[in-house]
Symmetry: C2
Subunit: 311 residues, 2 copies
């Protein structure tokens, strides 16, 4: 009988791994380096070896393991095929089949890391109790994961939930990393907030604590909390864009809840004060009751969600 499941979250520099019981309690967490050389050919064998070693170390029999869930940074189809996971060096491979073969046929389920993290937040994080959820990760970029009736919405080619690249500004002159102009990520990521702040500092003569130190998403929201007028202006712009973007998503998806995570979310619930006015102005009334909550699992959302893929 199965008593355990592994959750694996593959990042560009480290692979996070967790051993869980079937109720979702994490029994052990550890990391191994992500070896991306030679088109990342070592990544899956390293993961398989680490799992085998953990089984031996804990004296867990193979039959006691329900399987391995794995999240990777890139578009993943339902079949397990990964297309161009740039940060891992992978071109195209079926990670479910390959990892399963390395583990003598053990069951493997996989998904995109942002989608898998969304599933983790639904299961054990800020979205507990909800089955229709949009997770928004405000980090260096803006990532997203959409859960419909408890299942990840993968999309036709694994690119579902790429909410960082929805268009929210017609008059942008700087290109987004993706090549388009006016993507949500250009205003709502940590990088985007810094950009908005630098623009505001340049455009205004107003004094601000931001003129006397580092300008970052963190210092902007620290300044907001201290009542800094210019920082508040920046937060309003950030909230205007993000609220509008989430309003559009609400009209399309009609989720119960938005779970906001990533480094920027460390600012706390004050973010919602800036997001909600434009959300309420732009969201369709039938979808306007969506709840806003903070993510609670931090960097562990990925291993939780990966484990959940098996259950």
């Amino acid at each position: 009988m199965a008593n355990y499941v592994f959750g694996v979250d593959v990042g560009g520099t480290t692979v996070k791994m967790g051993l869980f019981d079937l109720e979702g309690n994490v029994l052990e967490k550890w990391e191994i380096p992500t070896r991306t050389e030679n088109s990342g050919e070592k990544i899956l064998p390293d993961i398989a070896a680490s799992i085998q070693e953990k089984l031996k170390q804990k004296a867990i029999a193979r039959e006691e393991v329900a399987g391995v869930g794995i999240g990777v940074p890139g578009p993943v189809e339902k079949s397990g095929i990964v297309h161009r996971a740039v940060n891992l060096g992978w071109a195209e491979l079926n990670m479910k089949e390959e990892l399963s073969a390395l583990l003598d046929g053990m069951r493997v389920e996989g998904g995109n890391d942002a989608n898998v993290a969304a599933l983790g937040e639904m299961w054990k994080g800020g979205g507990q109790g909800h089955k229709n959820l949009v997770a928004v990760t405000l980090g260096t970029g803006v990532g997203g994961g959409i859960i419909i009736n408890g299942e990840i919405m993968t999309g036709a080619t694994g690119a579902g939930g790429e909410i960082g690249h929805i268009h929210v500004e017609d008059n942008e002159t700087e290109a987004c990393g993706c090549g388009n102009f006016g993507c949500l990520e250009e205003y709502a990521s940590a990088t985007g907030i810094t950009r908005l702040a630098n623009r505001a500092l340049k455009a205004s003569d107003k004094d601000s604590v931001l003129r006397r130190g580092e300008v970052s998403a963190k210092t902007v929201f620290d300044a907001v909390k201290a009542g800094d007028e210019l920082a508040i202006e920046v937060a309003k712009q950030f909230g205007e864009y993000l609220g509008k973007g989430l309003g559009v998503i609400a009209g399309i998806i009609n989720p119960e809840i938005f779970v906001i995570g990533g480094g920027v979310s460390k600012a706390g619930e004050i973010l919602f004060d800036y997001i909600k006015p434009s959300f309420e102005k732009t969201a369709f009334q039938g979808s306007r009751d969506a709840i806003f909550a903070l993510a609670t699992l931090g960097n562990d959302a990925g291993i939780y969600g990966a484990a959940r893929l098996l259950l």
Copy 2:
């Protein structure tokens, strides 16, 4: 053994009904009036009576019927609960349970009319062969239906796929019917195109065939085909908004195909020439390969999709 299924599409003035075999061939189509008086209390009994009568007339035994699918204009939860179907006079009722009770326990499945029509287009219309589809209906308003892995995406409260009310313009001064400002419907519906045309006629001195006759979505696209410069300007504005809106939807949903229907779609594939430039400029690259196709079932999409709900 079941050989038949009924598809019912409830509109504000008539109820369209169809008797289908299990392969989706329509054996008979008919209509009854929608009696909306007294909070629409007659609507479901009228439908049940018409089904009973059809069974008698065709000498079909009850056991030969797999069930009844029904689409209604309003938000419908998975459970069958309809919230405020304004055009029918309904406040809140469980139409699956009520119609089933009127048919002595016959199986009933239901959905929102736009969502159900999307399912019809997937099954037997412009979206055949695809399981991840966004249907866009450009009529008096802009309706939408989203199909994920072959199933309707209902949303948390039945308001999923309300794409007519996604925000696409920050500087709109006229309110949409929903109360918000800058909804897609204000530019991409038949009414919206007429509004854009009247604005353009007023703002410009340019001669146009539109100055010498009725201004409507149809006359605009007729004029476009005749090379009328001002009409072409209007079509470009329409396409700019709709392409941008569909680009955002693509980034979120990552569909295989957009199926465009409704009265405006009678203009034909020329629409795509105006939609695609802004779609390609704004859609995330991983979702940019979505196909554009015209809906083919017209007003029958609803009864086809309703029948499909049972299969």
